[in-house]
Amino acid sequence: MVATAQAPVPPATGALAIELADVTKTYAGKVQALRGVEMHVRRGEIFGLLGPNGAGKSTLVKIMTTIVRATTARGTILGAPVGHRPTLARVGYLPEHHRFPQYLTGRQCVEFFGAMNLLRRAARRARTEEMLEVVGMRAWADRRVGTYSKGMQQRTGLAAALVNDPELVILDEPTDGVDPVGRSEIRDLLLRMRDEGRTVFLNSHLLGEVELVCDRVAIMLKGRVEVQGTLAELTQASRRWRVAFEGAPPASIAGFGRALPLPGGLRHAVELADGELARVQALIDLLRAEGCAIVGVSETRESLEELFLRLVRDVDGRAAAVGAANINNTMREAR
């Protein structure tokens, strides 16, 4: 069941890199990890999948890459049915807790995964060198993976995921263990991949990161996609006008809403719902009449973090429903 913000009509199948419907997964012991996921990812976009721990994100990603077998699943990946193995040659995947063969050098490791993705020798070698250069690992390519730091392993993993020149790149926490400079480089790489026409599917806890690069996002809660769409679509309902002014809030503006104090002095702000432009003008006039100085009028909307938190808490009306500890951890990481 998908509850998109404005229930947009999904694009035609040919324009979709991932089209999933009725994806369920029940593990042994009747643990329902997925309860009917529906998801559409367009070709050539960066799509972010969010959700607290235990929401089913990893299970969904693993179903797409045939690591986990769905209980039920309909849909396609790059136009082929979910689970169609030869299509995986066109997919690049970086798992979250990958462990590459420690006895291989970085170069050998990337080449090995090129071969596993059916690349012939010449193409494999050329792509390996290219990808090592892209992720900044060429200088260390002849050292064994076992000697790499976490960040270096992650970069090597990215090179291995991209060595087959994939049309769809699925990245599970790609910046895990990477320093801030490395994170920025990886973000640039994601944008570059999109510019090259690839579809990037990003599974991440880092909301800020997702917000920076993703064209569209989906938020999963308790085994379902709760919402999906562009950030603008998802936060449309939360769009508000904020009128900031300097001075003590006059009693006459009570009808417009509560004046919220702003940090750093005597400034306050009143927020009005989207579509109340006439009331905004009226409020400004009233404040001026009361001698308050207008310092700003802006359009505000929920951040991804606020949206995420609200949805998580809305699911059962309490955070505990999806694991308060998990949510708090997720938010901490996001910050």
């Binding site: 890459t65 193995r85 590459f100 050998q108 596993m116």
Partner: protein, 370 residues
Amino acid sequence: MRIDHAPRSGLAFADLSVQTWAMLVAAYRELNARRLFWVALALNVLVILVIAAVGIDEEGISVLGYDLQIPGITSKLFPPADFYKLMIENLGVGIWLAWLSTILALLSTSSMFPDLASGGVDTMLSKPIGRARLFLTTFACGLLFSTLQVLSFSLMAFLLLGIRAGAWEPGVFVAVPLVAALFSYLFCVQAVVGFITRSAVASVIVTLLFWILVFVIDLGESITLFQRTASRIEREMVQARMDTMKGDAGRESAQKLLTEADVRLERWALANDIALGIKTFLPKTSETAQLTRRALAISAGIGQPADGEQEMRVDENGILQRTRANRRRVEAEVRKELDKRTVTWVVGSSLAFEAVVLAVGLAYFRRRDY
């Protein structure tokens, strides 16, 4: 550089060979990174040097040129070619390759399947390779250790036989598939246990215990076969004695001995049939190693009764006397019995066991989520 991804409905042979070759190369690199592989290879050389250090001529046996003064053992009794073949079969294959090298190979490959199950499986499964092929190719990669070891040993043994005894015997290379098969019987157990438990230690322990079980059953079968053969010979001799009796004198007691011999034979035959029945379903590690003896064609009187020892005797109770001649004759008969067991039975039934174990592992792998 852009790759042309033509949509595929299936995988072509060329695709499969690219993946298989990559996995084999990676397995070789893994072995190369392990010291145990090189230690085993060095021990291979040492075993061959030890065999090469022993010489035999008309005077007797020598080690590094020093005569050992062992009476009777000369090149007249053992032609040099047979002498070295015997050493290669017993010391090289029987002890080194079939036991010590196999244990080193098991230790060295013990982490392959636990590693696949715990660390690398999701990365591998996200590639266009089926679970069955991934599992079986990883298994084949595990055989690489043993195969490379026995190949190097066989090559050195071939050169040793040619240089030291003038016998260029390509039969030594039969040890390569045989020892690889022997290792594979055990490795399949280790692979499946390692894959399920994800523990290299557990897989090695279970495999060694299983090997001991196989050894005990094989030993039991050997003992019962020996006793069965001895009982048969006893019965034949009592029968022969009865046939030569004239008149009724002593016939009654002979008949009693014959009946007793029949009971003994029946008892040992039953025990042997049971042991053989159990053994049929298990891998035949010892017999597989012994198949190299057939390939090396060691037949020049080794293990046969010496001249003057042909006559066998039973005591007054119809039991074979514990003489060297009797024992050798029974051993020769047992060997004949064992030689009747075809390569197809020895290797085929062992490979059938292996196939069943791998099928269990495969069924587990195919059903499991990671």
